[in-house]
Amino acid sequence: MSVDSQFVHKMWDDHELSKMVSGGIPFPMLSDAGGKVGTVYGIYDENAGVETRGRFIIDPDGVVQGFEVLTPPVGRNVSESLRQIQAFQLVRKSKGSEATPSGWRPGKMTLKPGPDLVGKVWEVWKTDMAFD
């Protein structure tokens, strides 16, 4: 979503994005004229008249589980967004009985929060696990 019109979205997809992604962008490109939606989400820069790089992960109940906002010059890491979605999906599936510690990736160990875990995280989770 950006402040550009859907017509400009089409031009961008036709003339540039379709050269990067075969068949063009597969998801809807949304238009937010005047930054009305961006303002409600707290990421619209009124002075510049553009949206900043806000990314929101919204679960099937419509609840915001996470967000990230960057200023325009720095791009995002899509792998990290996917990792977070996978983590939120795991937690949701386990109905909160499992948690994903720092550095978790699919297949890595999860934690089972509860009285038995208090003071014992150091036994199962090491600091090098926070990194790739």
């Binding site: 979503m1 950006s2 402040v3 550009d4 019109s5 859907q6 017509f7 400009v8 979205h9 089409k10 031009m11 961008w12 997809d13 540039e16 063009g24 597969p26 998801f27 809807p28 490109m29 949304l30 238009s31 937010d32 004229a33 005047g34 009305k36 939606v37 961006g38 409600v40 989400y41 707290g42 990421i43 510049a48 553009v50 949206e51 900043t52 790089r53 806000g54 990314r55 929101f56 992960i57 919204i58 679960d59 099937p60 109940d61 419509g62 609840v63 915001v64 589980q65 996470g66 967000f67 325009p72 791009g75 995002r76 967004s81 979605i85 939120f88 999906q89």
Partner: protein, 82 residues
Amino acid sequence: MEEEKVGCARPTGGPVGESSEKQVVKEETISKEVPKMIKVGQKAPDFVAPAYHKGKFTQVKLSDHLGKWVVLCFYPGDFTFV
């Protein structure tokens, strides 16, 4: 998603519901310079927005996607990187 008939006017969207009420409360209780920020664990504000999707002009409403995971991504402008 239904295809929208597009005339000469540029279609616009915006937040859905509660917005007028919220704005009044905001003016009374919070200084205008304090921007509101989304909180994790709370409902994502609903909205409708015109969209371009695979060769068609459509409209997207966030609440139509309940039951699915949604990534909502804002960026400064077309023809920049994301």
